[in-house]
Symmetry: C2
């Protein structure tokens, strides 16, 4: 009653039993050449009987295609990555491909190769600074299909990237603090040094200041690293000097959470004593006390779009070189706005 283990059934077995050549079976399976009706039926029947599943690896070696997409992340623990992964996975599987995920950080490992690349995937999605410019350029030079996520292409190479609009949103949320809430001494919690999101969010911060004739004060700029704990620590240290400030712009929601904790502990009330705003609008943000005013970034869509661009490359269609997804300020209570009904 037990069927032969499918892993031991080969195309050869099917061919023999169906009385045809392996070439014909292969053609039938791949539908890349017509096989006569009669032969087709015989093959199908035998495949069913034998419970035949083509050996993916053998196929890959023969076709030089893996039908797998790689996704290189800097982290997968943070809640931020769940929607990103979800978005990528959904379009990858829709296209009948598999998804290989890995975390990696350029530089962190010595000369260790990234775990995904041309040796095991047909193309890959590279998040932020998981790979550095040199590595990206090398892959591009070798014509390896690449799409960048939350970062742009090095050296103006025509590598598609999909990211979110950081600059204007950052300015806008600053405008809101300055214009609407009359804040004048705004602390900025910046992200990791070489992260583009960090850069543009800080640019927005600076420009808003400038546009309103407010001084840029480096004492008010803290290193948050887009990390809760680092932001908490930075904020704590900052507070210990009894500084003058009336608002905090954490350029990432996790940073905002860390800052909020430090503020709470120091006895400062948000938003009565100090306004607090974030960036990203992760799931958690609307559940904070007070609910966090932040910039909504469509992270799952970023994942989907990035995967879509990659498939365009694989299908020799021309991808969009830059996909800049819109973001939007979401007013909640942490900035000092009156109660806004929950979404």
């Amino acid at each position: 009653m037990t069927r032969p283990s499918s892993s031991s059934v080969t195309i050869r077995d099917v061919a023999r039993r169906a009385g045809v050549s392996v070439a014909t079976v292969s053609r039938f399976i791949n539908r890349n050449a017509v096989t006569s009706r009669e032969v087709s039926e015989r093959i199908q029947k035998v495949m069913d009987e034998l419970n035949y599943v083509p050996h993916a690896t053998a196929r890959q070696l023969a076709t030089r295609k893996t039908r797998v997409i790689g996704l290189l992340l800097t982290n997968m623990f943070h809640d931020f990555f769940a929607p990103l992964l979800s978005g990528v996975e959904s379009v990858v599987s829709q296209n009948g491909y598999n998804l290989l995920v890995a975390t990696y950080r350029s530089g962190a490992q010595k000369n260790h190769q990234p775990p995904v690349g041309s040796h095991n995937t047909d193309g890959m999605l590279v998040f932020a600074d998981s790979l550095d410019n040199t590595q990206i350029t090398r892959l591009y030079t070798r014509k390896f299909p690449l799409v960048l996520i939350h970062r742009t292409s090095p050296e103006d190479l025509p590598i598609p990237c999909v990211t979110v609009e950081n600059h204007i949103a950052s300015r806008n949320i600053m405008e809101h603090l300055i214009t609407h809430h009359k804040k004048r001494h705004i602390v900025f919690l910046r992200g990791p040094a070489r992260h583009e999101d960090s850069y543009w969010r800080e640019e927005g911060y600076r420009q808003a200041l400038q546009a309103h004739g407010l001084p840029f004060c480096s004492d008010l700029v803290l290193s948050g690293g887009f990390e809760r704990d680092m932001s908490y620590a930075a904020m704590r240290e900052f507070l210990s000097a009894s500084p003058v400030f009336d608002a905090v712009f954490a350029s990432d929601d996790d940073s905002a959470i860390g800052a909020l904790k430090a503020l709470n502990e120091s006895g400062r009330r948000v938003p009565e004593d100090v306004a607090l705003v974030g960036f990203n609008d992760i799931n958690l943000s609307s559940f904070l006390t007070p609910p966090l005013t932040t910039v909504h970034a469509p992270t799952e869509q970023v994942g989907r779009m990035a995967a879509q661009q990659l498939f365009r490359i694989l299908e020799n269609e021309s991808p969009d070189l830059v996909t800049l997804l819109p973001t939007q300020v979401i007013l909640r209570r942490s900035c000092g706005c009156e109660y806004i009904p929950p979404e």
Copy 2:
């Protein structure tokens, strides 16, 4: 200046240039037989010059091993899965393997095969009901290495499983509501029907009731599906009938969030009017208002342990058949407890 594309450099090229046979190069690369010092150095030098990377697929075909682990999930959007993925990924990469992830739901797809399996991985981790008993049994029968996550083995097959302690924790949190807060009419938001976590959490609910001589009342049991929206809807409908109740045990934190929203909207205060508790302790839980009393489940550790068991199988060591990770009630404010300092 441009190096030859690594993808076109084969072991043959290396062998030729180093003046040895491909067999020797292969042995040097795999260190599975000694090669003379002199030859080794020559090969290494050539490999560097040529920027040679062994072709993974060819290797796989020859060795019949993929060096990739599959992870089958029911979902990857929810925050719950970020730590799980992170845990799995960390040990998979530590072992020099790759990780293929996919979402799948037994039954949801017709006779579509799961995207990961023996054809593209050396073993896989199966979360909850992503695969049904029949599919699991079939894989086991074919000796495909398997570890189950958040579910036990069908038909007492010796397939390792790693999950969390649901039953006692569920009873304990109920005890807390009953004994400490004197609750008598406790609503239960149950999970998906065929999910083992659902079953045991409900068992805990029932037994706690019974142990205290409280009646089990089916009107108080609602379908939450471990989903925020479903729980919100179920709670709303429940509330519309002006029921008598004094507590809600949502058997999943996302459920608790949905319930909390419905309770807030109906004007009931948590915890003053009704106590609310959850299960899992996702990141978000401690940030709710009020902070959620819940059961902490070590989700990242579940991921790590599951992967570890799988590697034991792959290395022919005997795995632990049942890994039951401890959980712990975390008292916060939503149950009615006084202020408890933040962790």
